[in-house]
Amino acid sequence: MALIVVEVMLKPEILDPQGQAVASALPRLGFNFAKSVRQGKRFEIEVEGTPTAEQLAQVEDAAHKLLSNPVIETYVVKIEG
């Protein structure tokens, strides 16, 4: 069993009010380390055996068409475990 992970983030120029809300909540709890926070999404996709090049290409395609909106988001595909 292997895990293909797709991480989706808003492009830097797109307003992220959720990330901003988290950033402003941190100091209220005494956490003063954050200059800024951006919030994204992580998809964990299980596949049988070792991912093939073809599977990875399909995941790329799915990440582009469905998992992310290329107008406002970027994604990275990686293999974990």
Binding site: L10, E13, I14, L15, P17, Q18, L67, N69, V71, I72
Partner: protein, 225 residues
């Protein structure tokens, strides 16, 4: 036979009945269309209503975009078929790339429900030709993800081509770029609008009757009525 306007129901659509009622009050026949079929039932225009299609999982409109009915609508729209997307319908149109940009979480993070003043900026589109340039209207706005975002280049294109059809006035509800409330495609047959004209068609239930003009515009455009 009267002019037939389809209203699509996705799982999670909420305003399909109000949209159908607005269509009827404007003088057209409302034809229910279902997400799981690709049959447009010989309608001559389509309204994509508000709501939370497919639970708005992933991103608003992201999964609805791949519904069988959307394949037919996207193909038809690229050839000039009139489509009005309201709220969730606007989000579906952006996800389908029939309209540029995207709708993201309101700047203040809250779901907003208010009677919103708008200024009509473009009276050339199929859905706005019944307005006068610069006309101010009040219709309901109700959404959690209504902040219109796009890159600088797209914004410049929309502005220079006059494709912003309506802007928020007096109050910025969600942080949309340039206070954009609605846009059109290049030909003006596809219009997306975040506020809800179908909830402002009679004084008994709405803040105005301004919304009806969107639905009368398409009738005027297509059959000169």
């Amino acid at each position: 036979m009267s002019f037939r306007i389809g209203v699509v129901t996705f799982p999670g659509s909420l305003d399909d009945r109000d949209a159908a009622r607005a269509v009827e009050m404007a003088g057209a026949t409302a034809v229910p269309l279902f997400h799981a079929s690709d049959d447009l039932k010989e309608v001559e225009a389509v309204v994509l209503p508000g709501g939370f299609s497919y639970g708005d999982y992933l991103r608003c409109g992201a999964i609805a975009r791949f519904a069988p009915i959307m394949n037919s609508i996207v193909t038809a729209a690229e050839h000039g078929f009139p489509v009005l997307g309201i709220c969730n319908g606007f989000q579906v149109l952006c996800e389908s790339h029939l309209l540029p940009g995207a709708l993201t979480r309101n700047q203040g993070l809250h779901f907003l429900c208010r009677d919103q003043k708008l200024k009509i900026e473009n009276t050339e589109t199929m859905w706005t030709n019944g307005f006068t340039q610069g006309q101010e209207i009040v219709i309901p706005l109700k959404n959690g993800e209504g902040s219109f975002q796009c890159d600088d280049e797209t914004l410049e294109m929309l502005e220079s081509e006059g494709r912003v059809i309506a802007r928020y006035v007096d109050f910025d509800p969600n942080g949309s770029r340039n206070l954009i409330a609605g846009i059109s495609n290049e030909r003006g047959n596809v219009v997306g609008l975040m506020p809800h004209p179908e909830h402002a068609i009679e004084s008994l239930t709405g803040p105005s009757e301004d919304g009806l003009i969107f639905f009368k515009s398409i009738l005027h455009q297509m059959v000169g009525r």
